[in-house]
């Protein structure tokens, strides 16, 4: 049953006891209280936690008391700073230190856990200052960069052994998947720690066992393989895949409502990692590189393990409108009110909302779509009666071509689709024609009747999209027909009988067509064909006689080339600005992902698709759209940068928390619009928290996000 209550706190005193902060040397090999040795002559001046791949850091200073010469602690830098200085009051390099905060109520809290590094001396004519920096225990994650990779045997992608090999840790190389199949993780009996591994990207098999590395899989692999959890604990892997999905608006909506669940308020799609080589990179930086790119965050968190020892965790979180994270508020009394610490925790504040870096529309630039088609070629030369005689056709022997003029070089060897209208021999009209090939059967007009391709040269590819039974791509195919009665050049209409040609030809380098490369084109060895409807009973084709002066049995033939050409369009992977963006302008960026996303189809009525509809054999549209959605989500809102100073030690504010409003002034911190339409609010994220203990005061400085100010690329 819903209910509400009012709480009007009484006026708090203007001052209260500060928390005491204690610096201890920590020895994990001991037990109980023996683990901690207090360092009374060391004072912690600042502790800082930052978002991203940065271990926490703390600054310390020695208390040098020269008034009491009998004091056990050294009071001069000479007893503290030298590398061989030693003793219970000397912090040596790599000593593990823990900073404990003790509240006035007596509760202990671990504020910092790390290793002493970088001792420093500042000596002036009137003072000496000896201090050092310490870096959080998470710095141990930087000790060994990523090298080699864990890969499963290709002969058993599901259950095969995993081998640590010295191959690059390159994810989805050149847009090819190289991750083990879904459901075949290492340690899959325990979803909280299971992770996929690499698989040979060149495996060519049906069904394809390879899968793409998604952001979730990538994070689980990096953490599962490279973080041995000696110093930093991993998060529970079970929810990572869902957490690291793109969450664009649901179908038919422009707004994202995280409270409605995946079925109503938003859709969800995996974010595929683009070609990324993590070799020689410390794993936290590899992790952050991919997370930042897609608008996610990571943080190192220090706390207590429940048994009195410090505990360090790595946590990953969303920075968009997901409402799963903690929401914080700041307190500031109404203007003119008396100061009441119960209603005020802000002593200084600097905020800056910058709309300049907003990118609210994204186009993912993919590779050109590729289409396998069959096209009937026309002679790229003018046949002439008489060329077929033994005396004349000698000039067309390959060895004689060096001395031949341009037309003679092409004669009876050069067959073209003439896609740019450079000219071809029109058999029907017995004339030279410059009418370009009509590719509209393959590239039909758009819904507005506009052309979707331009007449230009399109060299064919030697490999087809169609694969054989073993999953290997077929080679481009040339076939001959003597009973085809359709147009040439033309996209093949499915008519005629065709006999494959085994060899003796090559694809033209600059355009769609073939060159007959045999020694004698009038004795072109085309292979012995024993299939149905042979078009040449012998093993040779009379390419001169059949074109120059066709007569039975050497009647005129036509050639059909099956190859792959580029479309002029990309995969349609563009997302427009949403109404939730706080700018009225659409600010689009194009992201180069041509190496990663593509679409491959086999045109209707081609040699390997006799149906009326194209066959789509590869379609990365969904993955490219998910990428575009996630990039828009990461950059569509203005970064709100700034800092807030709270005049006491507050541990409630953590990196990654979101700040929703300033109570008392009724100031919302939301950076998106559209709440009335159901859009979940987006708040600035705390990117750094510092606790300062210097100059006889305690303060907590909260820095707000600046991550989205990074350039999109």
């Amino acid at each position: 049953m819903p209910g509400s209550f009012d709480f009007d706190p009484y006026d708090a005193p203007l001052s209260s006891p500060a928390a005491s902060v204690c610096v201890c040397r920590y020895d994990p090999t001991q037990t109980g209280d023996a683990r901690y040795s207090a360092l009374p002559n060391v004072r912690c001046e600042q502790i800082q936690y930052r978002e991203g791949p940065e271990p926490p850091a703390a600054r310390f200073a020695y208390v040098l008391d020269g008034a009491d010469a009998s004091a056990p602690a050294p009071n001069d830098f000479g007893g503290l700073w030298p590398i061989d200085a030693d003793g219970p009051y000397v912090v040596r390099n790599d000593d593990r230190l823990v900073v404990l905060g003790v509240s006035p109520s007596g509760t202990n809290r671990v504020l910092f856990d790390g290793f002493a590094q970088s001792p420093r001396v500042d000596l002036t004519e009137r003072s000496q200052r000896v201090g050092f920096l310490a870096v959080g225990a998470a710095v141990r994650c930087w000790d060994a960069p990523i090298g080699g990779r864990r890969q499963r045997h290709a002969d058993d992608p599901v259950d095969g052994d995993v081998v640590a090999v010295e191959l690059p840790s390159r994810f989805n190389p050149d847009g090819r998947p190289n991750c083990t199949p879904d459901g075949a993780d290492v340690g899959r009996d325990d979803p909280s720690s299971s992770h996929p591994v690499f698989l040979d990207p060149d495996v060519d098999r049906v069904p394809d066992p390879r899968t793409y590395w998604t952001l979730g899989k990538f994070v689980r692999y990096i953490l599962g393989v490279y973080n041995d959890q000696s110093y930093v604990n991993n998060p529970d892997f079970e929810q990572l895949d869902a957490l690291l999905q793109s969450r664009p608006p649901a179908e038919g909506s422009a707004f994202v409502d995280m409270t409605e669940g995946a079925d109503k308020g938003y859709s969800a799609a995996d974010v595929v990692v683009r070609d990324f080589d993590a070799t020689n990179t410390p794993w936290p930086e590899a992790l952050a590189a991919q997370l930042d790119h897609a608008g996610f965050g990571l943080r190192f968190v220090t706390g207590e393990d429940g048994a009195g020892s410090p505990r360090n965790d790595i946590e990953i979180y969303r920075k968009d409108a997901d409402d799963a994270g903690l929401i914080r508020e700041l307190l500031l009394p109404e203007a003119g009110d008396d100061l009441n610490p119960a209603r005020c925790n802000v002593s200084a504040m600097h905020l800056h909302r910058d709309a300049r870096p907003i990118v609210n529309a994204v186009t993912v630039e993919t590779d050109q779509r590729r289409v396998e088609l069959s096209v009937v070629l026309a002679p790229g030369f003018t046949p002439a009666v008489g060329d077929e005689t033994s005396s004349n056709r000698a000039q067309f022997l390959r060895a004689n071509l060096a001395a031949a003029a341009g037309e003679a070089q092409r004669k009876y060897r050069y067959y073209v689709a003439d896609e740019a209208g450079d000219g071809h021999w029109d058999q029907t009209g017995a004339s030279w024609s410059t009418t370009a090939l009509d590719l509209s059967p393959v590239f039909p007009d758009d819904e507005n009747g506009g052309a979707t391709y331009v007449k230009r040269l399109r060299a064919g590819s030697s490999s087809l999209i169609t694969r054989d039974a073993q999953g290997r791509p077929l080679r481009a195919q040339l076939a001959v027909s003597r009973n085809y009665s359709g147009a040439a050049p033309a996209v093949w209409d499915g008519t005629g009988d065709w006999q494959p040609i085994s060899g003796g030809w090559e694809l033209l380098e600059d355009r769609l067509g073939v060159f007959i490369a045999v020694e004698d084109p009038d004795a072109w060895p085309i292979g012995e064909f024993t299939g149905t409807h042979p078009q040449e009973p012998s093993r040779t084709l009379r390419a001169v006689t059949s074109q120059a002066n066709p007569a039975a049995p050497n009647t005129r033939f036509v050639l059909r080339l099956t190859t792959v050409v580029d479309d002029d369009l990309m995969v349609p992977a563009a997302v427009d600005a949403r109404p939730a963006s706080p700018t009225k302008f659409s600010r689009r960026r194009r992201i180069d992902a041509r190496d990663h996303f593509g679409m491959e189809t086999v045109a209707a009525r081609s040699a390997f698709n006799n149906g009326d509809a194209p066959l789509v054999l590869r379609d990365d549209t969904a993955r490219a759209l998910a990428w575009a959605d996630q990039l828009r989500s990461a950059h569509e809102l203005p970064p709100l940068t700034g800092s807030v100073t709270i005049p006491s030690l507050i541990t409630a504010y953590r990196v990654g928390d979101r700040v929703a409003r300033i109570n008392g002034r009724d100031v919302g911190m939301q950076t998106n619009v559209g709440s009335d339409q159901g859009e979940s609010p987006v708040y600035p994220v705390i990117s750094a928290v510092s606790w300062e203990f210097a100059a006889d005061r305690q303060a907590t400085v909260v820095e707000l996000t600046d991550a989205r100010a990074d350039a999109i690329d």
Binding site: S390, A459, S463, L508, T530, S538, P553, D595
Partner: protein
């Protein structure tokens, strides 16, 4: 990605594509076929003439002294010139060579 990198990538892709289009250039030399003469309409009565032929395939166990069986393909007919001095009988099995733009065999009886 810088403009220069995009151009370099395009050049690399073009090079790879061009390499893929290059022919597997191999001269096959003279092509030979086992053929069997036949009469399509009027069988030649002189030796130096084109004879209608069908290709023949051989089967049989490849052991010393083993016999062979011949399977002609009567659906395919092409014409082979006899360079010899005798007229081969109908159904003669001969080796035809593709030379100088025409099929030839030599039958000397």
């Amino acid at each position: 990605m810088s403009y220069e990198a995009r151009i370099l990538r395009d050049r690399h892709e073009a090079t790879v594509d061009a390499d893929g289009r290059a022919a597997r250039f191999a001269e096959d030399g003279s092509v030979a076929l086992l053929v069997q003469t036949k009469a399509v309409a009027l069988y030649p009565s002189s030796a130096n003439a084109f004879f209608a032929c069908s290709p023949v395939r051989i089967d049989g166990l490849e052991t010393e002294g083993g016999a062979a069986t011949f399977i002609a393909d009567p659906t395919r007919t092409f014409f082979v010139y006899n360079l010899g001095s005798r007229v081969p009988p109908v159904g003669a099995k001969l080796i035809a060579q593709s030379c100088a733009g025409r099929w030839t065999f030599r039958f000397e009886g």
